[in-house]
């Protein structure tokens, strides 16, 4: 007799405990405002990322199409996985001095681990992290980017 009572007790206890859990789910069923799902990509227009978000490495240019990169190669050296290649050439400037000039700052997005070391170690602050995160492309070669824009030159006064 006792065992039957215990058995029934266990069943009712279990059902009660299940209802305790169901109360939580039920609460959210009737309070849909507290559910935090974002409707991506429908909210693309209003979606803003945090300004420190590390989406990709970019090279900011000013309105005269000038950048700050002196082609020193420090970022290339500091990148742990070889995502950066600097191609530079020697040019003679107005004062008659030979100087290294950046011809291409190649950035392999597909290899980058967003460790921030290049941005951090660049002595002239030429690099930054961009917030774009939709990097899917159909062809892998599109992930190799040239960061300096065509025709861009070194910003005056940057050493």
């Amino acid at each position: 007799m006792r065992s039957i009572i215990n058995y029934l007790k266990e069943i009712f206890g279990a059902v009660a405990a299940l209802f305790k859990g169901m109360r939580v789910t039920g609460y959210y069923f009737f309070h849909p405002k507290e559910i935090v799902t974002q409707q991506y990509p429908e909210n693309r227009a209003t979606l803003t990322m945090f300004d420190r978000f590390k989406g990709e490495v970019i090279m900011p240019h000013n309105e005269n199409n000038e950048h700050k990169c002196t082609a020193c190669g420090i970022c290339e050296m500091n990148c742990p996985n070889g995502s950066i290649e600097i191609i530079s050439e020697m040019k003679v400037n107005e004062e008659g001095k030979k100087k290294k000039v950046l011809s291409k700052h190649i950035y392999h997005l597909g290899m980058c681990t967003f460790c921030n070391l290049c941005v951090k170690t660049c002595p002239s602050n030429a690099l930054a992290m961009g917030q774009d995160f939709e990097h899917a492309v159909f062809d892998r070669s599109k992930l190799n980017k040239v960061l300096n824009k065509p025709g861009s030159v070194l910003m005056k006064g940057t050493e």
């Binding site: 266990e10 206890g13 279990a14 405990a17 299940l18 305790k20 859990g21 109360r23 939580v24 789910t25 559910i35 935090v36 990322m49 945090f50 420190r52 978000f53 590390k54 500091n78 742990p80 681990t113 967003f114 460790c115 921030n116 070391l117 951090k120 170690t121 992290m129």
Partner: protein
């Protein structure tokens, strides 16, 4: 003849079965060779090597700043703590005193990391037992922490926030406010976890008395972290050898003595409460100051051997660096908690049912890339 086989011999036979490497409840590419007798597990032989990337070898070619981003990829759920471990080793070798501000922020970030990891563990553990609901509730709360990370660090999972000597950048002006909001929020939400899963009779029956591990066995196998503390093995590095700002906070070690799956579950739930305590004590007292110490751009450790241990989310994580005076280490070895914890799986799962193996594995909270570096 046929009858003989079906009646007698087949039932007696043990048979081997592969679980993984692509099995949803091994939480990654872990392959377990099981010996089964019916539904009873007779032996578990874990096989590693499916996600071996040679990280320790790669470290020998990288500078100390570059190693950091690889440690993210060991136990990705406690990325910040592993970053910190390497930084502490390097700072210890160079005898650099990091500013107090850095120590506080590292500790707070580490504890946030711990909570986030335990939340995801709770999601996955529920899933292992067949409770899908938990997944949504855990991820909902984890999102808040990831947003905090994203705002200050710029990344959500692979943080790379600590650098030798300090931090990558200072905390975001909103950081303290957001963390305090999160603590108030999560103090309200954590009891929901108990209502949903802890009190559930099905869950209790599937975990109580399952996967026993005694204290002696835990010590013998080097099981540390919440899994070891569920067996009453007091192994919290934060208490026994406080690093960063843990000595400034008052908190207790969570110990359960039952040694079963439920005890390990309870340790993790209680640790979330304790982590919130630690953060609450530190968050208002972050001292002013620099966010890094002065470091040379090229770090060269003096010749010698260095070892540091920290309490990662899943147990004791150790970094061993041998330096020959160059800018890259001569040898790096990581003592990862998951690898030692895995060795005890066979012991715990023997004579249990195969479904219990999943529950035991869930309660050990394995992260495969950490075992298989």
């Amino acid at each position: 003849m046929v009858e003989e086989i079906t009646k007698g011999k087949l039932e007696e036979q043990e048979f081997s079965i592969n679980m993984g490497p692509q099995h949803p409840s091994t939480h990654g590419v872990l392959r377990m060779m099981l010996k089964l007798k019916g539904e009873t597990v007779k032996e578990v032989k874990p096989q590693l090597g499916y996600i071996h990337r040679g990280i320790e070898k790669m470290c020998e070619k990288l500078t100390y700043q570059q190693i950091i981003h690889l440690t993210d990829r060991l136990d990705y759920m406690s990325a910040n703590i592993l970053n910190e471990a390497v930084c502490l080793t390097v700072e210890d070798a160079l005898q650099v005193e990091v500013p107090e501000r850095v120590q506080y922020i590292r500790t707070i970030m580490g504890e946030l990391n711990r909570i986030a990891s335990h939340q995801l563990w709770w999601c996955a553990f529920g899933m292992d037992l067949g409770a899908l609901t938990t997944f949504f509730y855990g991820l909902r709360d984890r999102e808040k922490i990831l947003d905090i990370f994203e705002e200050t660090i710029g990344a959500r999972l692979l943080l790379s926030y600590n650098v030798p000597g300090g931090l990558m950048n200072d905390i975001h002006p909103n950081f303290q406010k957001k963390v305090k909001e999160f603590i108030t929020y999560f103090r309200k939400k954590l009891p929901e976890y108990d209502a949903l899963l802890t009190g559930n009779p099905i869950m209790q029956q599937r975990t109580k008395g399952i996967g026993m591990l005694t204290k002696e066995q835990a010590i013998a196998y080097g099981v540390s972290g919440p899994s070891g503390r569920g067996s009453g093995f007091s192994c919290d590095v934060r208490i026994h050898q406080p690093y960063s700002a843990y000595s400034k906070a008052d908190f207790k070690e969570i110990l359960y003595h039952e040694g079963d799956t439920f005890a390990r579950y309870k340790v993790r739930i209680d640790e979330m409460w304790e982590s919130m305590n630690i953060i609450e004590q530190l968050i208002d007292n972050i001292p002013e100051g620099n966010y890094t110490a002065k470091m040379k751009p090229v770090i060269k450790l003096p010749v010698g051997e260095y070892y540091t241990r920290v309490e990662a989310v899943r147990g004791e994580f150790g970094v061993y660096i041998v330096s020959d005076g160059n800018k890259t280490p001569y040898r790096v070895k990581f003592r990862s908690p998951n690898f030692s914890n895995l060795s005890a799986l066979d012991l715990m799962a023997r004579e249990q049912k195969i479904a219990d193996l999943i529950a035991i594995g869930g309660s050990m909270d394995y992260v495969i890339p950490d075992m298989d570096r």
